[in-house]
Symmetry: C2
Subunit: 426 residues, 2 copies
């Protein structure tokens, strides 16, 4: 038995359990110890359930709970319903609220044997107002948002697997800032029953882990497919390196790292070409904001109507004011513009397997007034592409920065295998 | 003041309130009386809240609650969350469960001044297993499903407005069987936060009323647009009359009525042409079933894993068995086939404003073992088109049968105005 099973990825630890070298109880205790040791400071969790976790782990060790994730500790962003833990959506309005059911992704992981340790901090209603979580790599910096606690918990070794969500950049950004892996599937690929809707046109579940193999495993569970052994793709992929219109706003160290990575991957055998996104994609950030804000104020009509004073001023004056001022005509036009942009996707991917770009504009910023820029998300998220961030680079102060890879719609399995090739060859 | 305000449409009664001829309290009391008188037998409601309704109505009369629906009684299918009434999703698993928030459509109607009287019967999880509701027009027949209670409540005069949902035919069918109006918007047009997801690729909110003007009013509230005065379109529409592949299975009286309606609308000035759906649409019913079942078992993973014995055998052996046997590959292929079919829609609507077809295969069937055939829904629902049923016809035993009109994606406003023209000219 290793002294610190919390350091293992889920795939590694599951292998040790299968080999008889680790028990679910030891793994869970190791993660609970880690939470106990660190989370008073980091504040990744809003709720931890040690008793429930120990009981579930004991059932795994007794052979009464089985499945491809049997014994794997995980955490869920507190925008995701749980029947046995409170779910507050990052708002005081719902302090202590207890849903009647587990959300689909929680239920599916548990049915596969996974052990839910607790609920992680989300920004208020998965929007911009930060929660109390610190970046475990530098406690004077934001962990990013809105899946702040999930990224911090995985980065700090409190859990190997955590769920986030993403409507703009809420999985890729915190994963990048915290130096872990983050992934969102092709839009619509994972079910969201019991996950509080922010903007249904864009909402996706996000997976946060410390390896691509763990993403692939959890993905198999969520689409209810027999897990396959994950392997990097044997052939080098065709990479479209995309600076995007945001290049001038990126940290120069990140620019240099991206260029160096492109060169290195080319030397390793990949075809790497610089691509420019179709001109029509320039409308995407504005269209994304229009659609998100319009849908947000309708989804949160109850809170706006009944609990106005308990919504943060930042949310009221930002997203909500924006949404209330957005007309239906503008909303419809923005949706149509996004649909039109998506028709260009087959051409974008005609000669490349994936787009390689930055995950964020740079390192996690200092301070906690904001969760950092979501600009790259606003550009790509409306397209619904599967995307992954790999903790590939170090910034000017040695904080992590992610390399983001995006595949064609429905190309999730290939994207993960190609991302693993990239990771192995950097 | 009329003696029976429960008989009025919402638009009519709101006009009388504006004119000082009716109070919200009188309107609500009239509907509550109607429920009291009839619902012991019809069983449209699973929960009624007279005290809450009286309080809300009194606030309207006192001028403290305003809005375009101020004082309008309504009901919500029990698949839709309410913070002050139980929400059981048609399942004993959730008997007495109380969500923390109102679903988006409930909150938006209430914010517009509407008065929620109660929750209406849904089939189990909005799937096939019938609830206890009888058809108010013939108590030995099904009201249709899954929005059984909402259609029955509106037909019986218990409320002028009710919410249903539709994943296959769950609004159009019960509205047709009960002789009222039913409408689903272009897919994605109304927000579904707090509405239990069955199959997110198809789920839509449905509106059930006794007039097209009421649908238009409620639609304006749900997209948060200043309500406009509703009028039938002044010009006769171009109608594509479509028998569909289901024609041979339709009641001969319905066939004759549809043909007569096509002729009459032509005489009234409409261009009426017979159209055939593209051959590729033949795959839609199978693809709809594949996608629905796959998504259903993932959305209900919690109930399947933890409450298996409390799920009805009909649901376990039907939708759930189907979903568990559906592979991800088949699901993805079905989704792609539907997307491919949708690319034909611009050609379908190139020369017509709307498709005119049947709402159901005939009158509401006798008995309560099933809620009737959803075959027409399985054909059209995957396309996401806005659709409306008008209680236009009488069947062989004088039960109502609907005429269904479907418009192009995003053409909701025009569709409602054209449907009103059709209704006026039949």
């Amino acid at each position: 038995m290793p002294h610190s099973p919390f350091r293992l990825t889920a795939t590694e630890a599951l292998g040790r359990i299968a080999a008889g070298d680790l028990t679910a109880r030891e793994w869970t205790e190791s993660c609970l110890d880690r939470i106990e040791a660190l989370d008073r400071e980091i504040r990744a969790f809003v709720h931890v359930d040690p008793a429930g976790a120990r009981k579930a782990a004991a059932e795994v060790d007794a052979g009464r709970r089985k499945g491809p994730l049997a014994g794997a500790p995980f955490a869920a962003k507190d925008i995701i319903d749980t029947h046995d833990m409170p779910t507050a959506y990052g708002s005081e309005i719902y302090a202590g609220a207890r849903p009647a059911a587990d959300a689909s992704p929680v239920a599916m992981a548990r049915a596969a044997g996974a052990v839910l340790l607790g609920k992680t901090v989300t920004t208020e209603f998965a929007n911009l107002t930060p929660g109390p979580t610190l970046n475990p790599l530098a406690i004077d910096r934001t962990p990013g948002g809105s899946s702040s606690g999930s990224a911090a918990a995985v980065a700090a070794g409190m859990v190997p697997l955590a769920y986030g969500t993403q409507t703009t950049q809420s999985t890729i950004r915190p994963a990048s800032y915290c130096g872990v892996h983050g992934y969102c599937p092709t839009q619509g690929d994972f079910r969201l029953s019991g996950v509080r809707e922010a903007a249904g046109s864009f909402d996706r579940l996000g997976l946060i882990t410390r390896s691509i193999a763990d993403i692939a495993l959890l993905r198999d569970v969520l689409i209810r497919r027999r897990p396959r052994t994950f392997e990097a793709c044997p052939e080098p992929p065709s990479i479209g390196f995309c600076r995007t219109q945001l290049w001038p706003t990126m940290d120069p160290t990140l620019q240099a790292e991206l260029l160096r990575a492109a060169a290195r991957l080319g030397e390793a055998g990949a075809s790497v070409v610089e691509i420019e996104l179709p001109a029509v994609f320039a409308i995407l950030p504005d269209a994304h904001r229009t659609v998100s804000s319009f849908e947000f104020v309708r989804n949160f009509a109850f809170e706006i109507d009944r609990h106005w004073e308990r919504i943060s001023p930042q949310l009221r004056h930002g997203r909500i004011a924006d949404g209330l001022a957005t007309t239906y005509e503008r909303y419809v036009a923005a949706g149509a513009a996004i649909a039109q942009a998506r028709t260009q996707l087959p051409a974008v991917f005609e000669k490349i397997d994936l787009i390689m770009t930055a995950s964020t504009l740079g390192e996690a910023p200092h301070g906690f007034k904001s969760t950092g820029s979501a600009a790259i998300g606003a550009l790509f998220t409306p397209l619904g592409l599967p995307c992954i961030t790999i903790p590939a680079f170090k910034g000017p102060t040695a904080m992590p920065m992610g390399l983001q890879a995006l595949g064609p719609l429905g190309g999730d399995d290939a994207l993960l295998a190609q991302a693993a090739w990239i990771e192995a060859n950097l």
